[in-house]
Symmetry: C2
Subunit: 229 residues, 2 copies
DNA sequence: GACAAGTCAAGAGCAGTGCTCTCGTTTTAG
DNA sequence: CTAAAACGAGAGCACTGCTCTTGACTTGTC
């Protein structure tokens, strides 16, 4: 499958990966803002200007790291969902795995779910990998609905304009009522709000280990969605 | 009340305010990461080293801006709560005003609720102003409870370790059941998760104006808390 | 009212950054 | 075999936060 590739092509692909790996290593230590092209080059024994043959700018390197981070988190979520049959348990497992990944890779989490990097505008190419995690969660709901274990809730019907926007979610979760999709968006934003609060220090001094709260919140929101035990 | 202040003291206090104002102006345009001491000094017609007499480092200037931002948001929340008698309406009004402030001052919002600035460790002096908004929300619940309009919910009792952590909230909301305080933390994290998603571009391409979703989510969560209409 | 002590802004300088351009060298493709 | 393309090295530009020194100005105290 590498046929037709010249030695230069292979070396280029390899070095591109090495640059990303070194950048990720720096990211883990210093954070996105402190990620320095010169330091990456230094680590690889290159001169800084050489990196520009592989990434036209620092922003392009960041974009690559963002996409990789979305993919890594998406893969974790998919794996967690596969190992659970019961929809409620699957939902909770995915929530747990997202939090665990975020805690293990705080700077990568901040890169994708934190405030945007200064002067950086995420290109459209990041939208698709960003949807991967959402796709997993919606799939769990669709499966629950299909197997008839999604308890009907008293959730109100969303207004017409909101229903229109929720249609995007409906494509990934056929059969799930719009009222549940609205609550899915609520649960989704709660999940990432909670993780962000934990990682960004908003819980400092009172909810310091957030384990108990996390379990309570995800459990209540699963019920809120109609994923009863 | 300025008695005893020398001309030098007054000049110093004034210039300190001017530095913060100029920094805030830059913050609004460029974001926290791009905030440059040299640019602030340039705007004020000073040389960069002169700023170090007023703020020992860039981080200290950031800390001052963070505290100011927390205070500004806290003041908005307090004002919004005062103008509403009905607890549910007060809750919703505070949520709306928080979102409005965040949208008007996205970089200041990111500074306090986004990912921490690289290499910056928020000092403890930011914890107290950070609690101001939470204090307003908890006060609304306490008032609702006191006037008997907080509908008892089916919320489960929190586990013992979680109950211990929620005690911090209980001090600001005397009489409110722990089960409701747990849900308050859920609603709180949902609120800021939702606003962060909106501001940081996670809604891009599908929930673009988030007005409808915001109204729906805050309404459902108010009910979730027992703040019935 | 003079004077030492403290405070001030300015300027030079250090080490670091992203990025551009040029220059030989090496590898590729025709 | 040769022209073209790609490569890494290096110098250099404009910028950053921060430190240190220098000379002028304001204080509170004799």
């Amino acid at each position: 499958m590498n046929a037709g590739q010249t030695a230069r092509d292979r070396a280029r692909a390899e070095l591109t990966q090495e640059i990303k790996a070194a950048a990720r290593r720096q990211l883990a230590v210093e954070g996105a803002e402190r990620l320095s092209l010169r330091a990456v080059a230094r680590e690889l024994g290159l001169v800084s200007s050489a990196l520009y043959r592989y990434f036209p700018s620092r922003d392009d390197l960041l974009t690559a790291l963002i996409i990789d981070a979305y993919d890594a988190l998406g893969a974790e979520a998919e794996a967690a969902a596969k190992h659970q049959d019961d929809p409620r348990e699957a939902w909770l497992a995915v929530c747990r795995v997202i939090r665990a990944w975020a805690r293990q890779h705080p700077h990568e989490y901040a890169l994708i779910y934190g405030s945007p990097v200064a002067g950086y505008q995420a290109p459209d190419s990041t939208i698709q990998p960003a949807g991967r995690v959402a796709f997993v969660l919606l799939g769990i709901l669709a499966q629950a609905q299909a197997s008839g274990v999604l308890t009907p809730t008293t959730a109100p019907e969303p207004s017409q304009p909101l229903a229109e926007q929720l249609k995007v979610l409906a494509d990934a979760a056929p059969g799930v009522p719009l009222s549940v999709l609205a609550r899915t968006a609520i649960a989704w934003t709660q999940l990432f709000g909670m993780i962000s609060f934990e990682l960004f220090g908003q819980f400092a001094g009172w909810m310091d280990p957030a384990d108990e709260f996390f379990a309570e919140a995800t459990g209540q929101l699963a019920t809120f969605l109609g994923l009863n035990r």
